[in-house]
């Protein structure tokens, strides 16, 4: 049976992608940021996941307003990156795991989530940058992936509570997959930031720190909020925190925080990363 070894959430700011593309990881501005991922690499080496189920929001690469799904599940053998229009270099494709994708699709549909399935899906920076951060270099193509998107472009968006429940359904789906696999669940985006309007540049550090705290042991404090509460508190693009809620929903009730880091600003954004481990007595058994 598949086991979820834990969850990771990380920001996916495009500027991180260009820093990687230009090899700036050791420049004074960037070094502390990239160093914060070293404990994540160590954790990943310890838990050795076979698959990453990666929840993110598409920023207008794969989806347009003609067909805008609330939740979409990728079901392809390969996921290609594409030109997003503002200069980030296109990276090579990532291997998928269509059998697991279809199992997740079947299972969450049985749980009454009305997903869109995608047998082709271009993955944007919100997928590729977290992959590059967690598995620098070749490593990010040695792990198989299931990309899952949450709509943050066109309102109505799903509520934080619905996102969390979707995560719970994904968790049940993964853990009922027959193959012996170690799965890491990822959420990407956030924390507080706003790109559009006179409110551009909005950041809310106290709210972010509250979220980083509550996501560990009191997630209902956040799922109680409405989408609009999130916009108010975290900025228009701060709603990306919903991908963190999906990730968190996929974990068991109790988790251990293994690592977290918070840094403001990276580009316009409060950047953060967190590693949560499922409290599994079973983890040792599949070691």
């Amino acid at each position: 049976m598949a086991r979820i070894v834990g969850g990771i959430a990380t920001s996916h700011v495009p500027m991180i992608g260009s820093a990687i593309a230009r090899g700036l990881q050791n420049e004074p501005f960037w070094k502390p940021f990239f160093d914060a991922y070293k404990p994540v690499h160590e954790w990943l080496e310890a838990v050795r996941p076979d698959v990453a189920v990666l929840i993110y929001n598409d920023h207008g690469l794969n989806f347009f307003l003609d067909k805008m799904p609330t939740f979409a599940v990728g079901a392809a053998a390969q996921y290609y990156n594409g030109d997003e229009g503002w200069g980030l270099p296109v990276v090579p494709p990532f291997p998928g795991y269509p059998e697991l994708s279809w199992h997740v699709a079947e299972s969450v549909m049985a749980d009454e989530f009305d997903i869109t399935t995608c047998q082709e899906m271009l993955v944007d920076h919100a997928f590729t940058i977290p992959m590059a951060l967690l598995w620098p270099g070749e490593g990010s193509r040695a792990i198989r992936t299931v990309p899952i998107t949450v709509n943050h472009v066109q309102y109505p968006l799903p509520s934080p509570a619905r996102c969390y429940k979707f995560g719970q359904a994904i968790g049940r789906a993964i853990e009922s997959f027959d193959d012996d696999l170690r799965v890491v669940v990822m959420g990407t985006g956030g924390l507080s930031h706003q790109l559009d309007g006179k409110r551009a540049g909005f950041i809310n550090k106290p709210f972010d720190l509250m979220c980083l705290d509550k996501i560990v042991g009191d997630v209902e404090a956040i799922t109680r909020l409405s989408t609009l509460d999130l916009v108010r508190q975290a900025g228009a693009q701060g709603v990306e925190f919903q991908t963190w809620l999906v990730m968190r929903g996929a974990l068991t009730g109790e988790v251990v925080k293994k690592h977290s880091s918070y840094r403001v600003p990276i580009s316009n954004t409060a950047a953060a990363v967190i590693v949560l481990e499922n409290k599994y007595p079973a983890l040792a058994e599949i070691a």
């Binding site: 207008g60 229009g85 200069g87 472009v153 309102y155 790109l195 559009d196 540049g201 600003p265």
Partner: protein, 119 residues
């Protein structure tokens, strides 16, 4: 009005991109979405008016496009994720877009972000 719609107009300094904006902005957003392709970005650069014609932009949208005015583009129904691709044609990054929208210099805008981190 559905419960999730309440209060959307009450956050100062921003427009929630819901159906009202979507109805207004479809042509503009469709044009901006096309800028995912290098070829289309070049076609726009070559003949901006012809390119806007192809997508039947409204007069308000054309004006905002001509002025590279992000606030005007937003109020004409533009969605920030697609507008970012338009801004990409001119090599504008999100700080420069932020500075334009808030009426700050780029340095002032960046300094504001740094201050937010020290709260």
């Amino acid at each position: 009005m559905a419960p999730n719609e309440r209060g959307r107009d009450e956050i100062p300094g921003m427009i929630i991109f819901d159906g009202r904006q979507a109805m207004k902005g479809y042509a503009l957003n469709k044009m901006c979405f096309s800028f995912n392709s290098q070829e289309n970005r070049e076609a726009f650069r070559r003949d901006e008016d012809a390119y806007c014609d192809k997508f039947s932009l409204t007069a308000e949208q054309r004006r905002a496009v001509k002025d590279r005015n992000v606030l005007a583009l937003l109020s004409a129904g533009g969605n920030i994720y697609y507008l970012a691709k338009f801004a990409g044609i001119f090599g504008l990054n999100v700080q420069q877009i932020g500075a334009q929208q808030t009426g700050m210099s780029e340095e002032e805008f960046k300094a504001m972000l740094v201050r937010a981190g020290g709260q």
